[in-house]
């Protein structure tokens, strides 16, 4: 009974994380389309939410990596998974509060790694998997997106440079509807799977599922629904940062950036690399800016984003470890997760209230 209560809390927390993931990462998917006026904001978000939902059903390679290659399942308990999720949610909300497009994926992996470390020591961490499947792709993917975005915009300008700007702008805006849709699909594919992987890990450690199993259908459907709902709720603060603060985009740049991001994320999802969609799309946006001219990129804003990236894994790991410690004060039963969940909900409510009072920077039309 105690285990079942903890599992219900873990699944609920995982879906709450998935919601914040969609909410936090809406910007990645729609910022380019909105800032170039390829789509109206509300329509772009609804379109992205629908394709996020569809994308979650495309592949399970990333879920398998998260469930088996990062932490040792033998050393993991549902409480560890819970603490890791709280670490990730807290970091997502902190970066949302400050309008920083940090990585939800690295927050999740960092949170779980930190909680596992606190629970079972360094042996619980699969260093090879963490390095080879997460950290190195995390460094490589944004660089690839930067180069692809840069090359793509150079090609765009070479091919259409002498045409009338109005016709070219209309063409790329239409193209952005397709490339933005592909990006939303890619986001759903890579990001929803991380939550599926974590729920699967918790089910395996609880004995509800055999080791090595694929996520059950109810896990896939609920994760897809949570990320789609989160995406539809939208995070306007980060949309503004992604859409206009890094570079001021024209339609060709928007098309190149979203095309580069979608290509890198879909290819990585196929090979099971749980990379950060935020980092990849930021890389594509910066590449599309730098391909036009280096000074087009606001490198100060880019520097803030990179700082948030670097802090994400250790910060989420620290919060995850702390949460595990606090949870264990109340023993191994369900009291700890219930108390921590109540405290986390109170903190979330306080953050939203404070932010609403301060005003939303970009009003939704």
């Amino acid at each position: 009974m105690q285990n079942d209560i903890v599992m219900v809390i873990v699944v609920g927390t995982a879906l709450a994380f998935d919601f914040t993931n969609g909410f936090h990462d809406t910007a990645n998917v729609v910022a380019t389309s909105i800032s170039t006026r390829a789509m109206a904001p509300r329509l772009a978000i609804a379109y992205a939410a629908a394709l996020n939902f569809a994308g979650a059903f495309i592949s399970l390679a990333v879920a398998a990596t998260v469930a088996s290659d990062v932490v040792s399942s033998g050393a993991i308990t549902p409480t560890v998974v819970f603490a890791g999720l709280i670490g990730a949610i807290c970091w997502n909300l902190i970066t949302w509060y400050f309008g920083l497009p940090s990585s939800s994926s690295h927050a999740l992996i960092g949170g779980v790694v930190g909680a596992a470390f606190a629970a079972a020591g360094p042996d619980a961490i699969l260093g090879d998997g963490l390095l080879g499947k997460v950290l190195i792709p995390a460094v490589v993917a944004p660089i690839v997106a930067f180069v692809v975005g840069g090359l793509a915009i150079v090609i765009c300008y070479r091919v259409v440079g002498r045409l009338k700007p109005g016709q070219v702008g209309r063409g790329y805006r239409l193209g952005q509807i397709a490339s933005g849709g592909l990006l939303a699909l890619a986001h759903g594919t890579n990001d929803a799977q991380k939550t599926m992987g974590v729920i699967t890990l918790a089910l395996v450690t609880n004995g509800s599922l055999a080791a090595g199993s694929d996520p059950p259908t109810w896990v896939i459907v609920s994760a897809a629904s949570a990320i789609a709902l989160g995406t539809y709720s939208g995070g306007w603060r980060i949309i503004r940062t992604m859409g206009s603060r890094i570079i001021k985009m024209d339609p060709a740049q928007g098309f190149s950036a979203s095309g580069a991001g979608a290509a890198v994320i879909l290819a990585s999802s196929h090979y099971g690399f749980p990379l950060s969609t935020t980092q990849v799309i930021s890389g594509g946006v910066m590449g599309a800016g730098a391909g036009k001219r280096l000074s087009a990129v606001r490198w100060g804003v880019a520097g803030n984003i990179v700082t948030a990236w670097l802090m994400t894994l250790p910060a989420a790991a620290g919060i995850g470890a702390l949460t595990y410690g606090v949870t264990r004060i109340f023993g191994t039963g369900s009291v700890g997760p219930i108390v921590v969940t109540a405290a986390a909900l109170a903190l979330v409510a306080a953050a939203f209230t404070r932010r609403v009072r301060a005003g939303t920077p970009v009003p939704a039309p």
């Binding site: 592949s59 090879d128 692809v148 793509a152 259409v160 070219v168 580069a260 290509a263 090979y271």
Partner: protein, 79 residues
């Protein structure tokens, strides 16, 4: 040591696929815009043969871009 930890083959394939898809589709779609734009210009200037040629170029490029996206999604779903 790093070579044993990182699946270099998968990472390299990811990079190559990203380049081909990202740059290739952008190039093909840009050619589609070029074809459509020149088609309109030539039509307005009373040059029907050139207009048809650019129209066909634009249409073929547009279909190729769409096909590339569909093939890409099918490949992704196979794993």
């Amino acid at each position: 040591m790093l070579a044993t930890i990182v699946d270099g083959g998968a990472l390299l394939k990811t990079i190559i696929a990203s380049f081909i898809a990202g740059v290739g589709v952008t190039l093909i779609f840009s050619i589609a815009i070029l074809g459509a734009s020149r088609f309109a210009d030539m039509n307005r200037d009373g040059r029907p043969a050139a207009a048809v040629a650019f129209g066909v170029l634009g249409l073929v490029a547009l279909l190729a871009a769409g096909a590339a996206v569909v093939v890409g999604i099918i490949v992704m779903t196979r794993k």
